[in-house]
């Protein structure tokens, strides 16, 4: 069986501090994995290093994505290869509209795939369709990226971008934090709609809320930089009743 993502003995540090202390994780096409853990476990570091954020130093281990060395690729090359991160704290980009931003992103990916730029009409149609899907009002197309957005609007914008870019591996970093139930359902619908035998996702969270709406195939518990338990949905229930101290 071939893996979409294969993490082997990954050690990561920021400055002098080792955050990830030997992670092993294998994700097959079509699988949804939940990574749960308390604050400070290294969950966000894992998402950061997978997407190529600067300042994170890999000191040991490998990450293979579609059989290639993921860590050798730039952040944009990872995006072109189908990786997507829904940010825990989406970034505001004053002066750049969502339309301009997504157009640059979609066309850069098409260029990398040897395709022509999308026709303006087709692009706007796609935007409209995906915005409706995450229940973003059409006027957001002209808004500056995340500027003045509420917490829920920012997260919806992340899921909108995910839908636009149609990734093969989506990483949702605490996408559920700070969301009310309605917004949570929109996020869950977004993830569920992308489910297919080829597409996978990593849902990073320390609550079980989102996992009520998106059923993970595999659940991992990350604690102090290591995966300390792997299993099925029964792990979510165990965490809900007894917390992370039991691991």
């Amino acid at each position: 069986m071939s893996y979409l993502l294969k993490i082997n003995n990954l050690h990561v540090r920021i400055g002098d501090k080792e955050i990830l202390k030997g992670i092993d994780l294998e994700i097959k096409p079509g699988e949804i994995h939940a990574v749960m853990g308390p604050n400070g476990a290294g969950k966000s570091t894992l998402s950061a290093v997978l997407t190529g954020r600067p300042d994170y130093e890999v000191t040991e281990g490998t990450v293979q994505y579609k059989g290639e060395d993921l860590l050798a690729k730039t952040p944009e090359e990872r995006a072109w290869a189908g990786l997507f991160l829904s940010f825990q704290y989406p970034i505001e980009i004053p002066g750049v509209t969502i339309t301009a931003f997504m157009k640059a992103a979609v066309n850069a990916k098409r260029k990398a795939q040897g395709l022509e730029e999308m026709k303006a009409g087709d692009f706007l149609k796609l935007m409209k369709q995906k915005m409706a899907f995450v229940q973003m009002k059409p006027e957001f197309a002209k808004r500056e990226v995340n500027v003045g957005f509420s917490g829920g609007e920012k997260k919806r914008n992340e899921i909108f971008q995910m839908a636009m870019l149609d990734p093969e591996l989506s990483i949702l970093d605490e996408t559920d934090s700070g969301l009310d139930v309605d917004a949570l359902k929109i996020v869950a619908d977004g993830v569920n709609a992308l489910r297919s035998p080829e597409k996978s996702a990593i849902i990073i969270t320390h609550y079980q809320k989102l996992l009520e709406y998106v059923q993970p195939d595999v659940v991992h518990v990350l604690k102090a930089g290591k995966i300390v338990a792997t299993g099925g949905r029964e792990l979510i229930e165990a965490i809900e009743s007894k917390g992370f101290d039991q691991f």
């Binding site: 995006a79 940010f87 970034i91 980009i93 997504m102 992103a105």
Partner: protein, 194 residues
């Protein structure tokens, strides 16, 4: 670049009479060293002056802005927006003063000077000053010297926008308040040379 050099308005002293409006726009392109000295006298009630400037440096240019805005009559309005990007070993300085005379009540005066420094060798100094002698005025000034925001850059790259393209987008958005209408493409192509 296939464009003629921009003819900037002359520098020096501008007198603006009651009810009149003055618009000045300056563009300093890479390779140009310039000293732009402008003094504006808003002499009559309701006079307005609006100054916009942008600069782009990538080598050892020396760029100076010295702007003095006198509000001498009531009900006048002025805005200043000076944004620029300093790369290479550029040396940039902005001195901007707004003076509101005792009689110049109901003055509105705004001044913004924002700068991005691309290299360790480039230098930018900004000195905004307000001298206000009237009490019924709306005045503000803002000055910043910073770098391209690395979080924005990573966010864009994580969406597949190549680093050079992301930087161009950042610089364009930073300059957008001061880019003359119709010259967006020309400025964009200059940005790509930084």
């Amino acid at each position: 670049m296939g464009h003629g050099r921009y003819i900037a308005p002359p520098e020096g002293l501008y007198q603006v009479a009651a009810g009149e409006r003055l618009d000045l726009q300056y563009v300093v392109l890479p390779g140009e060293s310039r000293e732009i000295e402008v003094t504006v006298d808003l002499n009559g009630p309701g006079a307005e002056a609006h100054i916009k400037a942008l600069y782009l440096c990538r080598a050892d240019e020396k760029v100076r802005f010295r702007i003095v805005m006198h509000h001498r009559a009531p009900g006048c309005k002025s805005t200043q927006a000076i944004n620029g990007i300093a790369g290479g070993r550029a040396d940039v300085r902005f001195d901007g003063t707004i003076v509101v005379a005792p009689d110049a009540q109901q003055t509105e005066a705004y001044q913004e000077n924002h700068n991005i420094v691309l290299t360790e060798e480039a230098r930018v100094e900004t000195k905004p000053q307000l001298e206000i002698y009237a009490d019924d005025v709306k005045c503000s000034h803002g000055a910043t010297v910073g770098q391209l925001n690395p979080d924005e850059l990573f966010y864009m790259r994580s969406r597949g926008i190549p680093e050079s393209e992301a930087r161009t987008l950042q610089m364009l958005s930073f300059l957008s308040p001061v880019i003359p209408i119709g010259r967006e493409e020309e400025i964009e192509s200059w940005i790509r040379t930084l």
